[in-house]
């Protein structure tokens, strides 16, 4: 397969996944601000979200304080901000357009109509319809992934869409956890507040019911983090994403990619054989930070080996 084609497929699915994950992040903090928190705590929550997404600087270039409205507008609708949901959907569609000959017309038309519908969403969307918008993003992402899964030939093209999806998802799951660990929380009665805050995160990740089934116990930061990092049977978990990434890369391996495959294997082994207690001992926020650096390095290596090779 043409390297550029692989590159477009990889970024098509990364951007789609990113759009969905930004929607989930926003959703989490929307729900948080409904809990009994001080205005300042709500602001700190948005700040933590912006920092975790790595867009705090871009935000403060144009806004003073991270109150709900500007933060939502910036993350969801800002056409100047390349990481906003609508721009991610646009980028996913532009990448798909560049390879519309490689994907099925079902995939292309679903992505294209998603983009065309997204044009109607702007800062003018009223407060009352914003939850619906986030839901729409999630459903469209499910739909597009479903069409990919139902119609795409299981060849290299499919592998690269999966590699893109899971590297992005691993990144986003850790960002979401990080933002939660970074947010000092609502104060008050600490234990109860904490439980509801982490429950909110589970709901935003569509993982609340799964948590109940797996733990049959109260929601604590440790348990939630453990689940979202370590479970190899949970599609949102980092462990699962690394499983997928490892097998995806093995399927497309070429003469240059040995080191990349070794590194993803090494990273995977830490989750497969490692103990959560050791991660906690390392300090979870620090651990998450270091993991993200490794993931970024992996992204660069994938690009060098497959997507934009030197010759």
């Amino acid at each position: 397969m043409l390297s550029r084609t692989a590159d477009h497929l990889y970024w098509m699915s990364r951007y789609l996944e990113r759009a969905e994950n930004v929607a989930r992040m926003i959703d989490a903090h929307q729900r948080l601000s409904l809990l009994p928190r001080t205005a300042e705590a709500v602001m700190q929550g948005w700040q933590a979200t912006l920092v975790s997404l790595g867009v705090a600087d871009a935000f403060f270039d144009r806004h003073d304080s991270p109150t709900a409205r500007p933060a939502f507008d910036f993350l969801a609708f800002d056409r100047q901000h390349p990481g906003s949901i609508v721009q991610c959907l646009r980028a996913a569609r532009e990448n798909a357009r560049a390879v519309r000959g490689t994907i099925t017309s079902d995939v292309w038309e679903t992505l294209n109509s998603t983009y065309l519908e997204s044009l109607a969403f702007t800062e003018k969307v009223p407060e009352s319809a914003r939850g619906e918008f986030l839901e729409w993003v999630r459903y469209r992402a499910h739909l597009i992934r479903g069409v990919i899964s139902a119609t795409l030939l299981r060849d290299e093209a499919h592998c690269f869409t999966r590699i893109g999806t899971f590297i992005e998802r691993a990144d986003n799951t850790t960002r979401l956890l990080e933002s939660r660990w970074r947010d000092p929380g609502g104060g008050g009665e600490r234990l109860r507040a904490e439980a509801s805050e982490w429950a909110v995160l589970l709901r935003a990740m569509s993982a609340f019911e799964v948590f109940r089934r797996l733990y049959r116990d109260s929601v604590t930061p440790q348990r939630v983090t453990e689940m979202l990092l370590m479970r190899d049977d949970l599609p949102q978990s980092v462990h699962r994403c690394l499983d997928e990434l490892q097998s995806g890369l093995a399927a497309v391996a070429n003469s240059r990619s040995d080191e990349t495959c070794r590194r993803v294997g090494e990273l995977h082994a830490r989750f497969h054989y490692g103990r959560f207690e050791d991660f906690v001992a390392e300090g979870l926020p620090q651990f998450l930070d270091r993991f993200q650096v490794r993931l970024r390095e992996l992204g660069v290596r994938i690009a060098d080996d497959f997507l934009v090779p030197a010759s």
């Binding site: 043409l2 532009e94 000959g101 292309w108 070429n254 010759s311």
Partner: protein, 471 residues
């Protein structure tokens, strides 16, 4: 005094021509609202499928549709048979002409065409001189624009031998018609066009460099911001070949490769949709980022086929066009089956004198112009515009030709005010490889504005499905 135009569907008396009578009876009883609803259904589908083109100079976000008309243009079998023979003959002669110019130039030595018209032409590529191309074919894909005059005679208006486009609309229009009006296809034996991509691929494989048994064919596009990008992606997909950009290709040791996820892969045939000027920055425009440095070297070494060949533009130039009937006689020793439109070459003193005296009844075109730009349509022009052209022609007569204003034929077309006649033309696509192949019909373009004679999509033109009926 201009004759009234020939209508493709209706007799002068107002009744349907015999080959259209079934369709016309059907159309007459369709409620206006149903047609309007089908029309907007077509628009919505084209948008969703993304059959759009970018408009130069507008915001990157704007994508437009080429308007689609739901009334087909219908050609009876016997007319098509004659047209097809004429097109094949014409393209055969044009290929012979290009081969001759880049080899022995017999036609110039015989004085049939003045040498300066060919050798001083900007489209003449000295790099091609003496180069052998597989099968001696240069214009593998030709789009021949055909119009019908007031007497009902088909005439060739223009030959497009560089990177003719529009074939994807021919295919998509058919798909759309079948989707909107399946009942019509049950009652009409409409000749299929869907196999065009198969013919094209077969054709491209047949001209691979000698010794290559299973050639790798790619389609070279300028990229997704090109106005014909949809067509490039569409054809590549339909043929199952890679759609490449210049950056995906590189030259190593006199061979062409593409960069793939498994390392370099050899390329044998390039169906290019990039103009000559941009193909190789080392040989042509040095600022081009759309091409492949060194491509011409590989080409000259005979290790890759480029389709269409470099330098075909000299044969579709408007100043060469008037000589095509002579070419047919010269190379094939046959009488031309398809007529030209009479053309005055304005750097010929006699022709110029006549044209300057009759500007208000003529169409004046730039020799190198395309897309319906830079034209004077005498009968529709103001005195000021005519004077302006008179000045321009006197200053640079070699840049212009003149033709009579043709009453292009009309076809019933769906408009806001109901079904009404609009002017149309026809672009059949002629494939030349080991054989010449033409799918029945082609792309019918229609000038949607009442009375307008300009069918180009950049000038408000639309398209129609083109039916060739079975015998």
């Amino acid at each position: 005094m201009r004759a009234s135009p020939y209508d493709e569907m209706l007799e002068a008396s107002g009744g349907p021509r015999s080959h259209c009578s079934d369709y016309w009876r059907w159309l007459e009883v369709q409620p206006q609202e149903r047609l309007a609803q089908k029309r907007s259904e077509a628009d919505a589908l084209f948008h969703r499928v993304g059959i759009t083109f970018a408009v130069y100079g507008e915001n990157s976000g704007t994508e437009r549709l080429i308007p689609f008309d739901i009334v087909p243009r219908i050609i009876p079998a016997q007319e098509w048979t004659r047209l097809e023979a004429g097109l094949a003959q014409r393209v055969r002669a044009l290929n012979r002409f290009i081969a001759d110019v880049y080899h022995d130039q017999e036609i110039l030595r015989a004085g049939v065409i003045p040498a300066k018209r060919v050798l001083c032409n900007a489209q003449y590529r000295p790099e091609m001189q003496g180069l052998e191309v597989p099968g001696g074919i240069y214009a593998h894909i030709a789009g021949i624009d055909v119009v019908r005059d007031a007497s009902g005679t088909f005439r060739v208006l223009e030959d497009n031998l560089r990177v003719p486009s529009g074939v994807s609309y021919m295919l998509e229009n058919r798909k759309m018609m079948m989707r909107l009006f399946p009942e019509l296809f049950a009652h009409h034996a409409v000749a299929p066009v869907e196999h065009y991509p198969d013919l094209l691929l077969e054709n491209l494989k047949s001209v691979a460099p000698t010794g290559v048994s299973d050639p790798t064919v790619v389609l070279l596009t300028p990229g997704m911001y090109n106005s014909a990008y949809f067509e490039h992606a569409f054809l590549a997909q339909q043929m199952g070949i890679e759609l490449v950009e210049g950056q995906d290709l590189f030259v190593l040791d006199d061979a062409l490769y593409m960069r793939t996820t498994r390392g370099p892969q050899r390329v044998d045939v390039v169906y290019r949709r990039v103009d000559d000027d941009f193909l190789d920055p080392l040989s042509f425009r040095p600022d081009s980022t759309l091409g492949v440095p060194g491509l011409l070297t590989v080409y000259r070494a005979g290790h890759v086929t480029i389709a269409n060949a470099i330098g075909t533009g000299l044969a579709d130039d408007k100043s060469i066009y008037p000589y095509v009937p002579e070419m047919i006689r010269f190379y094939l020793a046959e009488a031309p089956l398809l007529e030209n439109v009479h053309t005055w070459i304005l750097d010929d003193p006699e022709d110029r004198a006549y044209a300057l005296d009759h500007l208000e009844e003529l169409v004046v075109k730039e020799v190198h112009g395309a897309g319906g730009y830079g034209m004077l349509i005498g009968p529709a022009a103001s005195a000021i515009q005519i004077e302006d052209f008179r000045r321009r022609i006197r200053a640079h007569p070699e840049r212009y030709i003149a033709q009579p204003t043709l009453a292009l034929s009309t076809s019933p077309t769906f408009s806001a005010a109901g079904v009404a006649p609009r002017h149309i033309d026809l672009r059949p696509f002629v494939l030349s490889g080991r054989d010449v192949a033409i799918v029945p019909g082609g792309l019918t373009r229609v000038a949607l504005r009442e009375g307008s004679l300009v069918v180009n999509s950049s000038q408000g033109g639309g398209t129609k499905d083109t039916w060739v009926l079975g015998p």
